[in-house]
């Protein structure tokens, strides 16, 4: 890991972060003009440029400095992969308040990345309003049934942190129904579901797609477990990296028949460790016609870029997704993801993940090779 140094930015992050927290508190419906966003984006860029050596050198190599960059779109984006090798953090003389690690890839744990978060309060301010708007959608507080590990079990998981923070803010009670390795507590599930049914209080189930599949598979062979009217599911993650994959429509049909939660009440969340804000499918607000599109909060802008030149593409054209997330003010805001999709009216539509890349031939890719060398030694 390469650590980056910080001099002048020390005092600037708290000032910027306080301003951002104040803006985030106004919620996702608050008006953000392009100018508001740009002013804050360029202030964040200056901070990150001055504070993070590797990022500064990277930007200078592209001729981009706070003096030359006039538009947020011209701030050089950092590839998500680089989080595996470089700590992007503003104010490194203070220990980060949070450290999130990316889940392993096919390369194993040696290639896990991390996101150091200097200011937890900024993160909490960014995650709560979109969650309230898209998942609670008008309900003040709910009972949480989480199939996502608790933050106590998985302190380095950004997803667990998010669910924990949302539970602290919005849950009447929270049932953590998986252990740190994802093992499902079926007995706990039935107890919690029965209690909910008795009270008629709607519940929120939080789960990865894989956990949701495990749950319905268990429930399909056991006693009924219908949830009260008004219940909903927040689903995240798809089946990335899993050997098991079923169609989304199929999974949702099975959720409806086992939990009595219709597909229109299943809200997909799209997030990643490298971005501290999340996007949601606005199905509870706009109806199930909105399924398949993800809405960012107003402090997160997303663009689809030409896969080869990284030039911005027109609305609806498919490209590589780049996110500018002001919630990342303490690390790097502009992140180039590995995801492919299109953007329309500021909303994201993800393209189907293409499995099995082009045949590589008989050569071994260097990264695979080095992981073999590592596992052998």
């Amino acid at each position: 890991m390469i650590r980056s140094s910080d001099e002048s930015a020390r005092s600037a992050l708290p000032a910027l972060a306080s301003e951002l927290e104040r803006r985030f508190e106004a919620g996702v419906a608050a008006a953000w003009s392009e100018r508001d966003f740009e002013t804050l984006a360029l202030a964040a860029f200056r901070l990150q440029f001055e504070s993070i050596d590797a990022y500064r050198g990277f930007c200078q190599g592209r001729g981009a400095t706070p003096a030359t960059v006039r538009r947020w779109q011209d701030v050089p984006p950092v590839p998500a992969t680089a989080f595996k090798h470089i700590d992007f953090v503003v104010g490194r003389e203070r220990a980060p308040e949070l450290t999130f690690r990316t889940s392993g890839t096919t390369l194993g744990t040696a290639a896990r990345g991390r996101h150091l978060v200097p200011r937890a309060s900024l993160h909490r301010h960014s995650l709560l309003p979109p969650f309230r708007a898209h998942v609670l959608a008008g309900v003040e507080r709910m009972r949480f049934l989480s199939l996502i590990s608790s933050p106590a079990e998985r302190p380095d998981s950004s997803l667990s942190y998010m669910v924990g923070a949302a539970a602290d803010a919005f849950a009447t009670e929270t049932h953590w129904l998986v252990d740190g390795t994802g093992g499902l507590d079926v007995v706990g599930w039935h107890t919690a579901a029965r209690d909910a049914a008795k009270s008629s209080e709607p519940v929120l189930v939080l789960a990865t797609s894989l956990a949701l599949l495990h749950l319905v598979e268990r429930l399909e062979t056991g006693p009924a477990s219908k949830l009260p009217k008004g219940s909903r599911v927040m689903e995240t993650g798809g089946f990335k990296g899993s050997a098991r994959e079923i169609g989304r429509a199929d999974l949702h049909a099975r959720v409806e028949s086992t939990l009595a939660v219709p597909a229109g009440r299943i809200v997909a969340e799209y997030g990643m460790t490298e971005l501290l804000s999340q996007l949601y499918e606005p199905v509870l607000i706009e109806g199930s016609g909105a399924a398949g599109t993800y809405v960012p909060p107003p402090w997160l802008r997303v663009r689809a870029l030409d896969p080869m030149t990284l030039a911005e593409l027109p609305a609806g054209a498919e490209g590589i997704l780049a996110f500018f997330d002001l919630a990342n003010a303490g690390s790097v805001c502009h992140v180039l993801t590995e995801d492919v999709g299109s953007v329309h009216d500021g909303r994201v539509r993800l393209s189907g993940r293409v499995r099995g890349a082009e045949p590589r031939g008989c050569s071994l890719a260097m990264d695979e090779l080095m992981s073999l060398a590592r596992s052998a030694s």
């Binding site: 990277f58 984006p77 590839p79 992969t81 470089i86 590995e338 082009e358 050569s363 990264d367 060398a373």
Partner: protein, 433 residues
């Protein structure tokens, strides 16, 4: 070839191919070589409709650009003539006569008997590998059933068609089939009839197959390989640097770097008239030129995404470690100079890393981690040190040391991965008196 055959169909086919063995063994080997060479030559003949069809369909089936398909077909099919096939047999077995009767070599009198059925399972997308594989079996009078790699289905199919027109009985000793890679049912159906099995693929593919091949079946495994370049000081002066960079760029560009022979790292000696950084710049220019001459093939958004991550991450790492990154923007070639070795990231396109090295003798240490996977080392500018350096590279794990210009197309008679490709297929019968 459109519908996937059932395992039952594969078993029947394997049995039928194997049934040709006795007749095939009776034929004079030069007769077999002549027929195979005649079929192979059709893929080289500019006026032949089989070659025209190959060049028409290869870009779609392989994902390589039309210009690259011409280069690859010419490079590969050069080894499919009767003359080259006989040279291969001679290099491996001493003489084609050894396939027809007992020949004396030293104090031994021996006959080489090809397999009754060689089942060959090939992964990957380098066009021509499948034809090479099937020729190795047929040239030792061994019937063969081959499952080519996904990107290499076309040429074996066309070769089989060409052979059927020239020599129908010999064509009956060849079956080209396809099933999705890793299908245990299909593999087992074929293997049940084989006395030799060859597999080209990932280490994991080899490992799983090794566990299932019957004890009496010989397994010839070509696991995944990696190749590198080594550029010595003598090549880093004056005009030679440009010529060397051109040769290395050609090696990187061939098959869009998919081959086991394709260099992924180039070690460059320090202390020459020009520095490793100068070489990296020259290599970038040469890759740009190669990209014009032999454009890259199909490149989808997913691969482009991998490439963008790799390029930008390399740029970030270069800031801290003092390297440089040059790339072709919309042309998917990339050169990364790493002043110290950097963590490898998944790459796409023609992507090569240049690493400075104090002295060629240090290559041994630098390449040691690649040991069991190391294959070709393309060399330049080593002068009188060539043999001693090659010996050290061989001790580390390399099986082929060759001039940079020759990297992409090994000769028919090379010791593929350090072994005798025909010797691996035949069984010797000694006649003692």
């Amino acid at each position: 070839m459109t519908a996937t055959p059932t395992p039952r169909h594969i078993a029947d086919l394997a049995a039928a191919v194997r049934a040709t063995s006795a007749q095939l063994k009776l034929r004079p080997s030069r007769d077999v070589i002549a027929a195979l060479g005649a079929a192979g030559s059709r893929l080289l003949d500019p006026g032949d409709p089989i070659r025209a069809e190959a060049l028409d369909r290869l870009p779609e089936s392989s994902g390589l650009s039309p210009a690259m398909c011409v280069a690859v077909l010419d490079g590969m099919a050069a080894d499919w003539t009767a003359e080259r096939l006989e040279a291969l047999v001679t290099a491996e077995l001493g003489s084609a006569d050894a396939l027809d009767g007992f020949v004396t070599a030293g104090r031994r009198r021996s006959l080489a008997v090809g397999p009754s059925l060689a089942v060959q399972i090939v992964a990957g997308g380098v066009p021509g590998v499948g034809v090479n594989a099937l020729l190795r079996s047929l040239v030792v009078k061994g019937p063969t059933l081959i499952k080519p790699g996904r990107g290499d289905l076309l040429l074996p199919t066309l070769f089989a068609r060409a052979l059927a027109a020239i020599d129908p009985p010999l064509a009956d000793a060849l079956a080209v089939v396809y099933w999705p890679g890793g299908s245990v049912e299909h593999e087992d159906a074929a293997l049940a009839h084989a006395d030799v099995a060859t597999v080209y693929g990932a280490d994991e593919t080899v490992r799983t197959l090794r566990a299932r091949v019957p004890a009496t079946t010989r397994l010839v495994a070509y696991h995944h390989r990696v190749s590198v370049g080594l550029v010595g000081r003598e090549a880093l002066a004056g005009e030679r640097i440009e010529a060397t960079a051109r040769d290395v760029a050609a090696a990187v560009s061939a098959y869009d770097q998919r081959g086991c022979v394709s260099p992924q790292i180039v070690l460059v000696e320090e202390g020459g008239a020009m520095s490793p950084a100068d070489f990296a710049e020259a290599l970038a220019r040469a890759l740009a030129a190669a990209g014009e001459r032999l454009p890259a093939g199909r490149f989808d958004a997913r691969q482009a995404s991998t490439l963008q991550q790799a390029r930008s991450t390399a740029e970030l790492l270069a800031v801290a470690a003092g390297g440089l990154v040059r790339h072709g923007l919309a042309s998917p070639w990339t050169v990364v100079l790493e002043s110290s070795p950097q963590p490898p990231v998944p790459t796409a396109g023609r992507f090569v890393r240049v690493q400075p090295i104090g002295d060629a003798a240090d290559a041994r240490g630098a390449l040691a981690p690649l040991g069991p996977h190391l294959q070709t080392v393309g060399v330049a500018g080593l002068g009188a040190r060539l043999e001693s350096v090659a010996k050290a590279l061989g001790e580390v794990g390399a099986s082929r040391v060759t001039p940079s210009a020759a990297v992409a197309y090994p000769p028919a008679w090379w010791h593929h991965d350090g072994r005798g490709p025909l010797l691996d297929l035949v069984r010797w019968v000694d006649l003692e008196r």
